[in-house]
């Protein structure tokens, strides 16, 4: 059962990731990224991380990808054009990345003492996770809340449409 679930959702994961690269319209890429993230949530569950599986669906597949699709639609992003730069990146970058993947895969396959995962392993309960998070790692957790606050302020400040921008635009386009 574990093997079948792993193969199915690993296939979804890789298929979605490859589809993200093939598609030329950003909205199709965003939708395939959602497939990747939901399949990853199932894989987290197979590895016994129930809280992370839920957070993956809610935060990644929910919040972040909604933000992405919203921006794609807001900016009315069209198909991308392949340029000289992208062809050069494909010719030079692709073999380099395949070489890096081969090195990583060799290291992983030669590693000793890696265990196996099976369905009877049990899951890490959210209680267990939160005990460590709110006792030993309380300071990093609180610092992250400051980070989120700064991110909110930064996002608002950057995306705000103020008059100086508008005037610069008008001057540049001559309208």
């Amino acid at each position: 059962m574990h093997l079948i679930l792993f193969l199915v959702f690993a296939g979804f994961c890789l298929g979605g990731a490859i589809n993200l690269l093939i598609q030329s319209h950003p909205i199709n890429s965003a939708l395939s990224l959602i497939v990747v993230m939901v399949s990853l949530a199932v894989l987290y569950l197979l590895l016994g991380a129930e809280f992370l599986a839920a957070a993956q669906v809610i935060v990644y597949a929910g919040a972040i990808m909604v933000l992405f699709t919203f921006v794609v639609m807001l900016l009315n992003a069209g198909r991308e054009a392949h340029t000289l730069g992208s062809r050069a990146a494909l010719r030079l970058g692709f073999p380099a990345v395949v070489a890096i993947l081969a090195v990583i895969a060799t290291v992983i396959l030669r590693a000793q003492g890696l265990g196996v995962a099976k369905l009877s392993d049990g899951i890490t309960s959210t209680e267990e996770l939160s005990t460590v998070l709110f006792t030993k790692l309380l300071l990093p957790f609180e610092v992250t809340s400051v980070l989120i606050l700064i991110a909110i302020l930064g996002a608002v400040a950057l995306a705000r449409h103020d008059d100086t921008d508008q005037r610069a635009n008008v001057e540049r386009t001559g309208k």
Partner: protein, 107 residues
């Protein structure tokens, strides 16, 4: 039926999947020419790394690996909010999303 249920998956397969996702993210980062899709490739790389954190947390029965993934998710959410705000600001100034045409930091 019991042998069917007790089938197990080596953790190296999970690590290989994580490496493959990361590499696909790098390829996307290199070949995509749309700012938003480049950003999505970064998210793909983050997800690949998260999978290997969860795999090692399972291997060593350590909760801290999973908590690290939780922090990565929070930082990714903050990064997505700020990054997309920057994309909107760039689009407003340049009226394009093609990375080849966004080669100056000044507006």
């Amino acid at each position: 039926m019991s042998s069917f249920l007790s089938q197990e998956v080596p953790l190296s397969w999970y690590l290989l999947l994580s490496a493959a996702l990361f590499s696909l993210g790098v390829v996307g980062f290199l070949i995509k020419r749309n700012l938003i899709t480049v950003f999505m490739s970064i998210e793909l790389m983050l997800n690949g790394v998260n999978l290997s954190f969860v795999t090692f947390a399972h291997q060593w029965h350590a909760v801290k690996g999973q908590i690290f993934v939780f922090f990565v998710m929070m930082v990714a959410a903050a990064e997505a909010a700020v990054g997309l705000a920057i994309i909107i600001a760039v689009f407003r100034a340049r009226a394009t999303l093609a990375v080849d045409r966004i080669d100056l930091m000044k507006l």
